[in-house]
C-alpha cells in the first residue's frame, strides 16, 4: 500500500511544489526527482504485487493487468523527464518560446499528468477512472498550447473540445453501467467498483450493458485515437512541446485503451449468455481495423515530422484494439506486449525527433536532411527507432506483431492479408519520409546540438531485449493479465 501511495501521490506533491518553484533550471531537476521517486514506488509496488498477488484495498486495485502499465508509465515519465529537462531549458532560454510562468506551468502539469495517469490506472472506481482521464485532458491541454502560436492554440482547442465531448459520453456510459449495477447489487454496495462489478457481471442486464459499452467505447476511444474520433491527436502531438508528445503517445493512449479493455471485460462477462456474446470484441476489432488502415494510409505524404509519428501512434493503437478485439489468449498477449513496446519505442522516437527538430530548426520533413552526417547519434537513433516501430526484428514490436498476425491467422485467416498490406504500406510511408531525413548530405549551416540520447538508448535497448527474449517476470505478468482478460492462460 505504501508503495502504491508513493507511486501515485508523489506526482501530486510534485504538482503543488513545482507550481511554486520559480527557477526553471531547478524545476527541471525537481521534476526529474519526483518522477524517479514515483518510479521507485512503482517498482516496489510491482515486487509486492508479484509476491502477494492482487492488491485490492481502499478503492485501489492493482493486478497483473495494470501493474506493468504503472511501471511503464513511471518509467517513461522518468526518461522523458530526463530528456525534457535540458530540452525545455533550451526552449526556454535559447528559443525563448516559453516564459518563466510557462515553465512553471509545464513542470507542474507534467507531474499532474503523471498523477492522473497513475490514478486512472490504479483506481478501482470507474467514476474515479473517469475523473482521472478527464483530468489528464485538463492537465495536458494547456501544455499543448504552451507555445501560444495560433496553431498551438487551435490544436489545444480541438484537443479540448473533442476529448471533452468524448469523455462526456464515457460518463454517460459509466452512469448506465452504474444503473445496470444498481439492479443487481444490494443497497449500499459500491456499484462503481470495478472488482465488484466484475464479480456480478454475468447478472448485469445485457441490453443496458451494450448501450453502456457503446458510450464508453466512443468516449474512451476518442482518447485512444480510434478513427474517426482521432482528429485531435495529430494536432495535439505536433503542436505541443516534444516531451508532451512523447508522454501523450507513450502513456495517455495506453491508459485510455486500458480503460476500454476494462470495460470490454465487464461487457464480455455480461454478454456471455446473450445472443451476441462477441459483440464488444467485434466492435473493437472493427474500430481497430478501420483505425489501422486509415492511419496507415495517412502515413504517406506527410510534411510535418511529428504529425507523421502521431499517425504511426494511431496506427499502433488500431493494432492493439484489433488485438484485444480478436480476443483469445495469443492475441491478447500480443496486444499487451504491444502496448509495452510501442510506448517505449514511440516515446524514444519522439525524443529523437525533438533533437532532430532542434538540429534542423523546423518540423518540416523536407527541410530535415542529412542528420546522420550532422549528428550520427541522432540520425541512428531516429533510423533505428523507425526500424523498430516499423516492426523489424530483433526489436520487440516485431514479436508482438508476429504473435498478433499468427493469432489472426488462427481465428480470422481472411483478415491477415489486410493486416499485412497495412503493415507494408505503413512501413513504406515511414521510411520514405525518414530515409531522406537521416541519410544524404547535410545542408550547409546545420550543426550538432547538445543531445541527451540516454533515454533513447535505454528505451531501444529494452525494446531490443524484449525482442530477443522476454524476461520470465514480464512473461508471467503478461500471462496473468491475459488470464485475467480472456480467462485462459497462454503458458
Amino acid at each position: 500500500m505504501i508503495w502504491l501511495l508513493l507511486a501515485v501521490f508523489t506526482p501530486l506533491a510534485g504538482v503543488l511544489l513545482l507550481a511554486l518553484l520559480p527557477r526553471a533550471g531547478a524545476a527541471g531537476w525537481a521534476n526529474l526527482g519526483f518522477s524517479a521517486l514515483s518510479l521507485a514506488g512503482a517498482l516496489g509496488l510491482a515486487t509486492r504485487v508479484l509476491r502477494h498477488g492482487v492488491l485490492d484495498a481502499h478503492g485501489f486495485r492493482v493486478d497483473a493487468f495494470n501493474v506493468y502499465l504503472v511501471v511503464l508509465t513511471t518509467f517513461v515519465g522518468l526518461t522523458t523527464a530526463v530528456f525534457s529537462r535540458p530540452y525545455m531549458y533550451y526552449v526556454h532560454t535559447d528559443e525563448k518560446r516559453v516564459s518563466a510562468r510557462g515553465m512553471r506551468l509545464y513542470h507542474s502539469m507534467y507531474q499532474g499528468f503523471l498523477f492522473t495517469m497513475l490514478l486512472a490506472l490504479t483506481t478501482d472506481n470507474l467514476g474515479i477512472l473517469w475523473v482521472a482521464v478527464e483530468g489528464a485532458t485538463l492537465a495536458t491541454v494547456l501544455l499543448v498550447s504552451l507555445y501560444r502560436t495560433p496553431a498551438a492554440i487551435e490544436a489545444a482547442w480541438k484537443y479540448f473540445i473533442l476529448c471533452g465531448v468524448g469523455i462526456a459520453q464515457a460518463l454517460f456510459g459509466t452512469v448506465a453501467l452504474y444503473f445496470a449495477a444498481q439492479h443487481v447489487l444490494p443497497a449500499g454496495a459500491n456499484g462503481l467498483s470495478w472488482s465488484t462489478l466484475y464479480a456480478i457481471a454475468p447478472q448485469l442486464e445485457p441490453r443496458v450493458m451494450v448501450v453502456a459499452f457503446v458510450f464508453l467505447l466512443v468516449g474512451y476511444g476518442t482518447k485512444v485515437g480510434l478513427v474517426p474520433l482521432h482528429s485531435w491527436l495529430p494536432d495535439a502531438h505536433s503542436e505541443g512541446p516534444t516531451p508532451m508528445s512523447a508522454v501523450l503517445s507513450g502513456l495517455l493512449l495506453n491508459v485510455a485503451l486500458y480503460a476500454v479493455v476494462r470495460m470490454k471485460m465487464l461487457t464480455d462477462a455480461a454478454l456471455a449468455h446473450s445472443a451476441t456474446p462477441e459483440l464488444a470484441g467485434h466492435l473493437l476489432m472493427g474500430f481497430g481495423l478501420l483505425t489501422f488502415l486509415t492511419a496507415v494510409i495517412s502515413l504517406h505524404r506527410r510534411r510535418d515530422i511529428k504529425r507523421l509519428f502521431s499517425y504511426s501512434s494511431i496506427e499502433h493503437m488500431g493494432l492493439m484494439s484489433f488485438g484485444f478485439g480478436v480476443g483469445g489468449p495469443l492475441a491478447t498477449f500480443a496486444a499487451l506486449l504491444h502496448m509495452l513496446v510501442h510506448a517505449l519505442t514511440k516515446s524514444s522516437i519522439f525524443v529523437t525527433v525533438g533533437h532532430a527538430t532542434h538540429i534542423a530548426r523546423t518540423q518540416r520533413i523536407e527541410r530535415i536532411r542529412g542528420l546522420i552526417r550532422t549528428q550520427p547519434a541522432v540520425g541512428w537513433g531516429l533510423l533505428l527507432g523507425v526500424a523498430a516501430i516499423a516492426g523489424f526484428p530483433p526489436f520487440g514490436i516485431f514479436t508482438s506483431e508476429f504473435l498478433l498476425l499468427s493469432a489472426t491467422m488462427q481465428l480470422w485467416p481472411w483478415l491477415t492479408p489486410l493486416l499485412v498490406l497495412g503493415l507494408v504500406v505503413a512501413f513504406a510511408g515511414l521510411f520514405r519520409s525518414t530515409q531522406p531525413m537521416v541519410f544524404g548530405a547535410a545542408p550547409p549551416g546545420q550543426y550538432p546540438v547538445r543531445a541527451n540520447m540516454l533515454p533513447v538508448l535505454t528505451h531501444l535497448a529494452l525494446v531490443l531485449l524484449l525482442g530477443i527474449a522476454i524476461p520470465a517476470v514480464l512473461a508471467h505478468w503478461l500471462d496473468q493479465a491475459t488470464q485475467l482478460i480472456t480467462g485462459r492462460s497462454l503458458l
Partner: protein
C-alpha cells in the same frame, strides 16, 4: 402508464424534465449569446430542481447535496463567468444565426425520437416513475452535441458542452438517484476547471485570430499541415 397514478412529486419531475428538454432545444436555436447563456442557466436550474425533487421523493441526502452543487455551479458560477467573458470580449451584440434553423430543429426532433428508441430497453428495468427521464437526458446529451456541431461561436460550443454535462447529471439523477458523492465532486471539479480553461482559451483564441468564430480555426487541416504556422513563428 397514466400520470394519475404518480405522486405529485413524480409528476413534477416529469414536467421539469420536459422543460429541460425544451431548454435544450432553445439552446440549439437561440442565436444571441446572452440569451443563450440565460437559457443555459435555466436549464441548470431545472436539472437542479429535478435532483432536489428526486431527493425529496427518494429521501436520500446525497441528492440534495449534488442538487446544491449543480445549482451553484451551473446556475450561478458558470453563467456569471460566461457573462464576464462576453463582456470582456465585447460579444454582447454578437449573434450567429443557424444556417438552416428548420432543418436543425427537425434533426433535433429526430434525435429525440432516436434517443427514446435507444433508451427504451434500458428504461424498462427501472420501476420508478422517472425512468423515462433517461430517454430525456440522453436526448439532452445528444442535443448538446448537435449544438456543438452546428454552432460556429466558440462560446456557443461551450454552452453545448455544458448542456451535455447537464444531460449527464440528469441521467445520473433520474436513473440511479445520483452517483456516489466522491464521483459527483470529481465531476463538478472537472467541470469547473474546464470552465476556467475555456475562459483562458477564449482570451488566447481572441488574441491569436481575433474572433471566436471557430471555423477560422482550421489552419491545421492535414493538407496544409501548418506550414505557415510553424514557419511563421520560427
Amino acid at each position: 402508464m397514466n400520470l394519475g397514478a404518480l405522486s405529485l412529486l413524480d409528476q413534477a419531475v416529469l414536467v421539469l424534465a420536459a422543460m429541460a428538454l425544451f431548454s435544450a432545444f432553445a439552446l440549439l436555436a437561440q442565436s444571441r449569446l446572452l440569451a443563450a447563456i440565460h437559457v443555459f442557466a435555466w436549464q441548470g436550474a431545472l436539472v437542479a430542481a429535478v435532483a432536489a425533487l428526486t431527493g425529496a421523493a427518494s429521501g436520500d441526502v446525497n441528492l440534495y447535496i449534488s442538487a446544491a452543487i449543480t445549482f451553484v455551479l451551473k446556475v450561478l458560477l458558470i453563467p456569471w463567468m460566461l457573462h464576464r467573458l462576453v463582456r470582456r470580449l465585447a460579444l454582447e451584440r454578437q449573434s450567429d444565426p443557424l444556417p438552416y434553423p428548420a432543418l436543425t430543429l427537425l434533426a433535433g426532433a429526430a434525435i429525440v425520437v432516436f434517443a427514446d428508441w435507444v433508451a427504451a430497453p434500458v428504461a424498462q428495468f427501472e420501476h420508478s416513475a422517472t425512468r423515462n427521464v433517461i430517454a430525456i437526458s440522453l436526448a439532452i446529451v445528444l442535443l448538446g452535441m448537435l449544438t456543438m456541431v452546428v454552432r460556429r461561436q466558440a462560446l456557443a460550443q461551450v454552452l453545448g458542452f455544458m448542456a451535455i454535462e447537464n444531460g449527464l447529471f440528469l441521467a445520473a439523477v433520474a436513473s440511479t438517484h445520483g452517483m456516489p458523492l466522491v464521483v459527483e465532486l470529481g465531476v463538478a471539479f472537472d467541470v469547473l476547471v474546464a470552465m476556467v480553461l475555456f475562459g483562458v482559451f477564449f482570451l488566447q483564441i481572441k488574441d491569436s485570430i481575433d474572433t471566436l468564430d471557430i471555423d477560422r480555426l482550421s489552419q491545421l487541416s492535414a493538407s496544409v499541415e501548418q506550414d505557415e504556422a510553424t514557419e511563421a513563428q520560427r
